[in-house]
Amino acid sequence: MSRELQPSAVTAPTGATAIVSPPSSDEGTIYDLGYVPHEGPRLGRAGAIRAIFFDGSRRVLGLRRKALSKVLPWALIGAAVVPAAWVVALTFVAAGFRLEDAGPFGDPAEFFEMIGLLAMFFVALIAPALLIPDRQHGVLAIYASRPVRASDYLFARGATLFVLTTLFMLVPHAILYLGISALYVDGFPAGLVEHGKQIPAILGTTAAYVLAYGAPAFLVALFVRRAVIATGVYVFAMFMTVSLIEAMPRATDLLVFRLLAPLGLFWHPLTVRDWLFDREPEQWALDRVGLPPWVGAVTILAVAVATAVIAHRRYRRHF
């Protein structure tokens, strides 16, 4: 079906008549150009996925939103980044202060215990913000009228959650890595190489955290109708698993505990961390019942896959 360019409209959108005066050298002329069709390229689904990804990022960070919506995400980002930067700065300016003496800040593996907890709160905040407002305000109807499938929408939203949480965890790590390397006795480049050996373990543990904490938050946000309630439900559920596992006797081989232990998602990233950093197990949920660490990794992946399947089934009817 072809579309022809329409002649210039002479009625303004509000109904007022536009003035079109004859052109002359010393007089301005007002032209109502009317409607200009789009004749450029269309980027299809890839363009839509990219747009949803960046829209989600702006939304959860409160960018181009009112000031109040920026407070919580940036407070958490500050809580993650500022201490790391502060400790690194101290090592440069305070004589006798070494990173190794700065508790978890001097050891990437230990630092995960602090940044992981903050990441859980970050995920609790952003996963509901990514999904719930679109349902609450009927915006899914707009997505459904665009060249977008349910899988595209969910993929883009999931990618936003994954990427932002990964950055949330990795930026403080990067600050510490650069700081430690800069203080290395053999110089900065040698420090980068020496401490760079831990990068695969840091990336793997970060992925375990993001999936183990992100997938359940995404799952809760699929069903709860208000973002604040979803945040509360998620945090409550995660801490419930902590309590359940804490109440579990150590070195038990009872079947009921062996079945319950994989539910302790809160602890699994730490199990994976010990595995990847080749540390002595610290009696996390799986260690207590004698299950190997790969069970934690498999459980995290299984929860993530199950969340993806449930999300698709739930959103398919909207698209």
Partner: protein, 302 residues
């Protein structure tokens, strides 16, 4: 011949055992279409089916020549939709949401910014473009919804009750905006309960009743009828008798006759008057509004 805007072939839509649309078959040309029907007649279900949100239980539907089931993505690039309720995030500015709505349809970022600015000007919201949508009035929200529906330059836009909740001034503005779309090469399918609004913006009518199409034709063909009012000066009895003999239906009140016929009523009356020698005082076509037609079809359907 131009591609029909919409083609339905035995389209059936059912939720479990509840059949909402039953065997719809119709060819709708490129026009401004009015979708008319009572609450629960199946209008919104038909719109969702045309958007590819609902998969047909049976039959097929094509929009702009593209199958809604098999070519959904390609079809949606050329279609816009204005939902009846919701659809706008209150925490975003009008400009930001229009840019996003354009990008969702695959328009590149720079072009999306230009188009967002253009359509907001078009719907009279340019001055309000940096206000959050949550601060908009009902009329402004409806115009913003219309803007997002056309921001990606569709060939067809589906408007689900676009005048709902508007005051008279808002209705007037919205009707004029919808009327302008045709001039831009954008066809419209408007669903509304207010038949006078449909009459003023549409030139093709699809009437749905109980999940079935009871009328599908041009507004002119639906509203024009072969009924005329005739007032004669004398010989009213003879005129009435002769008209009845020639197959016309006649309702008479004194010298005034309401004549309905299947042939051209003017030729018929001309001949009868000539034969009877009756003097003519008044001859007037009976104008049928869309509401008359709708109520008539409603009676037939029920």
């Amino acid at each position: 011949m131009a591609t029909p805007l919409i083609e339905l072939d035995g389209l059936t839509q059912a939720y479990g055992r509840l059949v909402v649309l039953e065997g719809l078959t119709a060819t709708i040309p490129q026009a401004s279409i009015g979708l008319v029907g009572a609450n629960g007649a199946g209008k919104s279900t038909l719109m969702k089916t045309l958007l590819g949100i609902l998969k047909p239980t049976a039959g097929t539907a094509r929009v702009l020549g593209l199958s809604v089931s098999d070519e959904t993505i390609a079809m949606r690039e050329r279609v816009g939709y204005m939902p009846e309720r919701g659809g706008l995030p209150p925490d975003q500015t009008a400009a930001d949401f229009m840019i996003y709505a354009a990008q969702l349809a695959g328009i590149p970022p720079r072009a999306a910014r230009q188009r967002a600015s253009d359509v907001l000007t078009l719907v009279g919201l340019h001055e309000e473009r940096f206000r959050h949508l949550g601060d908009f009035s009902t009329g402004m929200l409806q115009r913003a919804l219309l803007a997002q529906a056309i921001v990606h330059d569709p060939d067809l836009v589906l408007l689900d009750e676009p005048l709902a909740g508007l005051d008279p001034e808002g209705r007037d503005q919205m009707l004029r905006l919808i009327g302008r779309l045709r001039g831009f090469g954008i066809h419209t399918l408007v669903s509304s309960h207010v038949l006078t609004d449909i009459e003023s913006t549409c030139d093709w009518i699809v009437m749905i009743e109980g999940g079935r199409i009871v009328q599908n034709g041009s507004l002119e063909s639906i509203t024009s009828g072969n009924t005329v009012d005739v007032e004669v000066l004398d010989h009213a009895d003879a005129v009435e008798q002769l008209l009845r003999e020639r197959g016309a239906t006649v309702l008479r009140r004194d010298h005034l006759l309401e004549v309905t016929t299947t042939v051209d009523p003017y030729d018929l009356i001309n001949g009868v008057l000539a034969e009877t020698g009756a003097g003519l005082r008044l001859l007037k076509a009976r104008v049928r509004t869309l509401e008359d037609a709708y109520l008539g079809e409603g009676r037939i359907a029920s």
